[in-house]
């Protein structure tokens, strides 16, 4: 066990963990942020996606020892009140069905919009291509991302 100081959603946390503990479990079990989900444990579904210094990252594939001073953003920290353009579009366009994968999709979409403010369908498909939504909400997700990119219109 070692003590790690990490920054999550702008807050400093000190956690005692094995260095190989993926941040998925650090967030869920040690810090109590449960919006980030376990879906596969092998980086194949994207349910655990978070931002690390604004980059799309898989929580289940990122050991805490790799994080260092980088800033982690989870769904809980994307906005204070659900007001991020993607969250608003998600709500407005009724994207979620079971909801379990949605945080991961939203976080990767946030990383996409940061780099590519007006993505095409192909760019969306590529950026979110390593995610799975088992309810099949893809068509509405694509639309919501484009609406968010247009500033909610």
């Amino acid at each position: 066990m070692a003590v790690f100081k990490i920054n999550v959603n702008g807050q400093a946390h000190s956690v005692e963990a094995e260095p190989d503990m993926p941040i998925l479990w650090v967030l869920r079990d040690l810090i109590g942020l449960t919006g980030t989900k376990y879906g596969c444990g092998i980086g194949e579904c994207g349910a655990c996606s978070v931002l690390i210094d604004g980059q799309d990252a898989r929580g289940c594939q990122t050991p805490i020892s790799d994080v260092g001073n980088k800033k982690i953003t989870t769904i809980e920290g994307l906005s204070k009140d659900g007001s991020h353009p993607l969250q608003k579009a998600w709500i407005e366009h009724d994207v979620p069905q079971c909801g379990y994968c949605q945080a991961g999709h939203i976080m990767s979409a946030a990383a996409l919009l940061h780099k590519t403010p007006n993505p095409t369908d192909a760019q969306i498909d590529e950026a979110l291509g390593s995610h799975i939504c088992r309810c099949g909400t893809y068509v509405r997700m694509r639309e919501a991302i484009k609406v968010a990119a247009r500033g909610g219109k």
């Binding site: 009724d94 079971c98 979110l128």
Partner: protein, 708 residues
């Protein structure tokens, strides 16, 4: 329509600890009642009404404050006007929480912006059967829920009329207000205390469909904000003080058992607390999930495997052998024959199976996302020896269900571990456990024979559905084909197998309708007819014909397409609803691209057309995944596939650029939806592949390179 009787009983309600935070919940005075003849009336005063999010359903009328109006266990109106509907069926993504709220709110004339939902605990004594499946929730509950709304509205009117000293018949309601004869208004929130004192009326008139303001209008899901902000609570998200984490290593083969286990390395993993051999599995208990997972990986186990000779190949051979004689086809008719093969399918819910249990000597508390929370309560009472009212089951949101999450196995496992450890336990099935120890949609082999006469009319149909597992020796029954065919029958049978199977979204229709709609297409081709016209011309069911015709029209059926592209059509009739799909694909090399999907659906009266659209869109992606990608195969008595890398599901790029869903209102009664969208998706895709390539898909998932 069931009439409400005066069932209100006051009672002190005590439930155990609150949900997520482990706080001790206040006792509260609640007026709760049962509704309708199907609810047992003796025990509802002990109903545990805690919701997954910790909102109690009723609160004390204390300190002179207004009390909530809670005419029964399903509805509460607070003095601030908030209307809370307690939902007795599980939401696994189908949006039933919003649907049920709409049904109550319609008859209540509620202000929709003030409508909230809370989830009923596992408790069939209070809420009636809570099993969620078979697209039955709306069909089984709309009458009761509308009656609850109508009755509460009548009580609110009576309360206002009494206060005003006017005739209740001269009052009306709108958006959470009672409006008196001279235009005076009182909000429902202002009437709660008075309404609570009004006897529950009987025989309250419900609205005519023409008066609906909420039912039939597209409404956003009430849970959207929670889903989009990470606040939605699934079982594994609850924090229970002192809980340990458990994962299991399971026998690689079905019906396997532990031969030998060396847990010395596992016990050395920091955080691992215990290793418990449990017959067919080994549980690793740890202070956190990661330590449990590492401990599991460090186990050195060998297993007894009594089913080593079971494989997809051996099962397929056995199923082919099980096919018997077909029905006779009429003499002189043109006869076609084909066989189809469908694999086992895993449910692979996005949220792997999990449950949290806290079994104490005098009570038990369980957090689970289950399609049968009432059975979970009953099972836990049996397993712990506790009286049923001492078992509180918090039914959380389900991260997908599709038929897998009755709750018996994973709920029972968590209860068993907590009972053994005398601690709260958070049990998580890994994705591998979830996929390799599923109750699969059965593998099946289909042999079909059908015939058309010289004019191209269908004159015979014989379908033998052999599945593993499947019953033996049954004769021919109804063919369940969507067109009228004389001399048609289907015989079901199969072989025994240790492979566990269960309901998978749309159950047997995933086999019967998929294969029938593929083979009807072949029969149309044999008749020299257009597959849409052939179906339409031989279809008796007017509702089905209407959705079929509309789908063809909306998809511009018959207009030319580029080489390599094709359109396929298919339909389905069940659950009181009808659906038709037209799918357009382009086949390039071995890749199939879904260009366009049109679906037309008639669920009778759609409660929430926006939700219906979502279900059709989602079920179509199940169709894409299982038509083209995913299947479970068996080797050495166990499932080969273990995660999304080997069980490839549909991803964003597999979704068509255009998916048009048309919700038709046929005026028929409320029909089912959750299961409706799948069984015509797969054959529409397969038939489109034929239109594009001239080759028939007869084995799923389809591999273009193998088509002949």
């Amino acid at each position: 329509m069931s009439l409400l009787k005066d069932l209100r009983i006051g009672g002190l309600e005590e439930s155990g600890r609150d949900t997520a935070k482990g706080l001790s919940r206040r006792s509260f005075l609640g007026l709760v009642g049962g509704v309708g003849a199907s609810f047992a009336l003796g025990s509802f005063t002990t109903a545990a009404c805690a919701s997954p999010n910790g909102h109690p359903h009723g609160e004390a009328a204390a300190n002179g404050k207004d009390a909530p109006f809670a005419p029964n266990a399903f509805l509460k109106i607070d003095p601030d006007g908030t209307c809370t509907v307690t939902v007795s069926k599980s939401d696994m993504g189908q949006g039933i929480r919003t649907t049920f709220a709409m049904l109550v709110a319609e008859e209540l004339d509620a202000d929709w912006s003030k409508v909230r939902v809370t989830q009923a605990p596992g408790d069939s004594a209070t809420y009636g059967g809570e099993g969620t499946g078979g697209s039955s929730s709306t069909r089984s509950m709309h009458g009761k829920l509308r009656a609850i709304g109508a009755s509460a509205r009548a009580m609110l009117i009576a309360a206002a009329a009494k206060k005003w000293g006017v005739d209740p018949a001269a009052c009306k309601t709108d958006a959470g207000k009672v409006i008196g004869p001279s235009g005076q208004t009182l909000t429902y929130g202002q009437l709660t205390t008075l309404a609570q004192a009004i006897p529950v009326p009987t025989g309250v008139q419900q609205k005519d469909k023409s008066q609906f303001k909420i039912i039939g209008t597209p409404r956003s899901r009430l849970d959207n904000h929670d889903y989009a902000t990470g606040k939605a609570m699934y079982a594994q998200d609850v924090h229970v003080e002192g809980a340990v984490h458990a994962v299991c290593l399971r026998a690689p083969a079905f019906r396997g058992s532990i031969a030998k286990v060396d847990d010395s390395a596992a016990r050395k993993i920091p955080g691992v607390i215990d290793v418990i051999p449990l017959g067919d599995k080994i549980a690793v208990i740890a202070t956190n999930t990661w330590s449990a997972l590492k401990g599991r990986d460090a186990l050195n186990a060998t297993w007894n495997n009594p089913t080593e000779d079971v494989s997809t190949a051996t099962l397929h051979d056995a199923l082919v052998k099980a096919v018997g004689d077909h029905l006779e086809m009429p003499a002189g008719a043109k006869v076609i024959e084909a066989t189809f093969d469908l694999p086992y399918l895993a449910h692979a819910t996005m949220e792997p199976l999990n449950a949290v249990a806290d079994v104490r000597e005098d009570r038990a508390e369980i957090w689970i996302g289950a399609q049968g929370p009432d059975s979970v309560q009953q099972d836990a009472a049996g397993a712990t020896g506790l009286p049923i009212e001492k078992v509180v089951v918090h039914n959380m949101l389900l991260g997908g269900g599709f038929g897998r999450k009755g709750g018996g196995d994973f709920g029972g496992e968590a209860v068993d571990l907590s009972k053994r450890l005398k601690k709260p336990v958070k049990l998580l099935w890994t994705r591998q456990c979830d996929m390799q120890h599923d109750d699969y949609r059965p593998m099946s082999h289909h042999s079909l024979k059908a015939a058309v006469d010289a004019e191209g009319n269908p004159v015979g149909w014989s379908h033998q559905l052999m599945q593993a597992p499947g019953g033996r020796g049954r004769g021919f029954g109804g063919a369940r084909v969507n067109i009228e065919i004389p001399n048609a029958g289907m015989k079901e049978g199969g072989v025994d197998t240790p492979v566990p199977t269960g309901a998978w979204r749309s159950v047997e229709n995933t086999q019967i309708n998929v294969v029938n709609e593929c083979f009807v297409d072949e029969l149309a081709h044999a008749a020299g007819k257009d597959p849409f016209e052939f179906r339409r011309d031989h279809m008796k069911d007017e509702r089905l014909k209407k959705v079929l015709e509309t789908a063809a029209e909306k998809a511009s059926w018959g207009t030319p397409l580029p080489a390599g592209s094709g359109r396929g059509i298919a339909c389905f009739n069940n659950y009181g609803s009808r659906i038709a799909h037209v799918v357009q694909v382009t086949v390039k090399g071995n890749d199939v691209k879904i260009d366009h999907c049109v679906a037309v659906v008639d669920v009778g009266t759609a409660v929430n057309p926006r939700g219906v659209e979502a279900q059709v869109q989602g079920a179509f992606m199940d169709g894409v995944a299982t038509a083209l990608k995913a299947g479970i195969t068996i080797e050495k008595g166990g499932a080969v596939q273990s995660n999304w890398d080997t069980y490839p599901w549909a991803r964003m790029a597999d979704a068509p650029a255009k998916m048009e869903v048309y919700v038709m209102d046929s005026g028929a009664d409320f029909g089912g939806m959750g299961e409706l969208g799948y069984p015509s998706s797969v054959p529409a895709i397969a038939n489109a592949i034929f239109a594009a390539t001239g080759k028939r898909v007869r084995k799923f998932p389809a591999k273009i390179e193998e088509l002949v």
